[in-house]
């Protein structure tokens, strides 16, 4: 059996530290998700409006955020704004800002897609039955939109959790960073620690994201 360096995990508080790192990553993603969902719904509703200016502005925002790699966005907000505006915002806050900007753009696009995928006839057949506009939205349109949206937004959430591994680049100590620190600190005593520690990181991400993936697939099948 090759030495996987797993024993490092049981030294000192290493395992607790890794879990703490996972929590730091989850905290950033969960706060960003909590902000992105309402903002994204708002953005999505704006994106299907007929006004040309609103459409153009939201479109540019979406394309800009999409084209820009998240890492570059993190650098702009964390390093760039510090130099340009003399602001001193923490790595965590910078991360939440970037992930909220990104999550809002992605969520907005999902909401837009879900809204325009409801055929015009659904509105008409509901109206033809004598339902008022508000009743049509409440009983017919929103339930269908939400059903289309939930599996897609669960996937977005897992993507956001995974992408938080980038925030170590702006000095936030999250799970991947803790893993690096543990490996560095034990370079002499356990030179093989990299495999075992990163394997553990992989498992931690897996444990965080897998239930969400399962939920998304379950909902997709139920409502497909």
């Amino acid at each position: 059996m090759p030495d996987l360096g797993l024993e490092v995990l049981f030294k000192g508080k290493n395992m607790i530290r890794l879990l703490g790192g996972l929590w730091a990553a989850l905290k950033i993603s969960l706060i960003s998700v909590a902000l992105s969902i309402p903002l994204g719904i708002l953005l999505g509703i704006l994106m299907v409006r007929k006004e040309v200016v609103i459409r153009a502005v939201t479109r540019i925002y979406l394309e800009f955020i999409r084209i820009m790699p998240q890492l570059v966005l993190l650098f702009i907000v964390f390093f760039g704004s510090a130099r340009a505006f003399g602001s001193d915002i923490s790595g965590e806050l910078s991360s939440v800002i970037v992930f909220t900007l990104w999550g809002t753009a992605e969520m907005g696009d999902l909401v837009r897609g879900a809204i325009i995928s409801i055929p015009k006839h659904q509105y008409e057949s509901s109206a033809a039955l004598g339902l008022k506009n508000s009743q049509t939205y409440f009983y017919i349109i929103i339930p269908q939109t939400v059903r289309r949206l939930i599996p897609l937004s669960v996937n977005l959430i897992t993507r956001m959790i995974k992408t938080t591994s980038l925030v170590l680049m702006i000095g936030v100590v999250e799970v991947t960073k803790v893993a690096q620190q543990i490996i560095e600190a034990n370079r002499m005593t356990s030179p093989n620690a990299a495999f075992g520690v990163y394997l553990t990181v992989f498992l931690l991400y897996f444990i965080a994201c897998w239930p969400l993936s399962l939920l998304a697939r379950h909902l997709e099948r139920k409502w497909g």
């Binding site: 033809a128 004598g130 009743q135 269908q144």
Partner: protein
């Protein structure tokens, strides 16, 4: 003569510059079955959509028992309860079961009790041979079954007039019959119906009056036998000839 139920006077409907209906008059009496035929794009579906207030109109008036139907007006939802409409593409609500599709409007709009509405829904479903499908979802049904559910959904609101907009046009041929039979039964019960269809034999069997529309106005109308056997206008003759084929052998 039965009382006037629906009165359309000088109806004009335009989309931008294109006039679809041009000064059309039509009166439908209680218990009458009116079949509307005509070439595609002649305005017959638009006529039904106007009657249901789904389209704003540019002139004339549409009155149901004296109440004017105005697109976007406040009392339109109340008036629409008296008008049942069935669309070509069924348009059941995919997130609701068959029974919930049918009882949604009776319960939420007419404030009837859920138990009573469901009881009636099941009775109507039984009549169209779909009682066992009550708990299923629209995606589990065939096109003909969906269309029968859509008819039941409209019926359950106790409408005074039923509008059918090419309800068999999207169906496979073997499913057309089951839907037309349901409509024939409704006609026998003395329901007021306005039917837009391309099924000429069915039109002849079900209609009290046939209306032939072309270029946004009524060109000819009459009893089905007379209209189909000896149309008076050249345009109607031409139109009906499309449906006869010379043998090629």
């Amino acid at each position: 003569m039965a009382s006037e139920l629906l009165k359309i006077e000088q109806l004009v409907k335009r989309y931008d510059e294109h006039t679809v209906i041009n000064g059309l008059d039509l009166t439908v009496h209680s218990g009458e079955v009116v079949v509307v035929i005509g070439p595609s794009g002649c305005g017959k579906s638009t006529l039904l959509r106007c009657i249901n207030g789904l389209e704003p109109i540019q002139g004339g008036s549409i009155k149901l028992s004296g109440d004017e139907i105005i697109h976007g007006s406040k009392n339109l939802p109340a008036l629409r309860q008296k008008i049942g409409m069935v669309f070509q593409s069924y348009e059941l609500f995919p997130h609701l079961s068959v029974i919930d599709n049918i009882t949604l409007a009776p319960v939420k709009v007419q404030k009837r009790s859920k138990g009573e509405a469901e009881e009636e829904a099941l009775r109507l479903l039984e009549r169209v041979g779909l009682k066992d499908k009550a708990k299923q979802y629209p995606r589990q049904l065939s096109g003909g079954q969906k269309q029968r559910v859509a008819i039941v959904r409209a019926l359950c609101m106790h409408p005074e007039v039923m509008l059918f907009d090419e309800v068999t046009a999207a169906l496979d041929p073997e499913m057309v019959r089951e839907v037309l039979d349901v409509m024939l039964n409704l006609a026998k019960q003395g329901r007021t119906m306005i039917i837009v269809t391309h099924e000429m034999q069915f039109a002849e069997a079900v209609a009290d009056r046939v209306i032939f529309i072309d270029k946004g106005n009524i060109i000819e109308e009459g009893r089905p036998k007379e209209f189909f056997n000896s149309p008076k206008t050249e345009r109607a003759k031409q139109f009906l000839n499309i449906f006869e084929f010379e043998s090629v052998k």
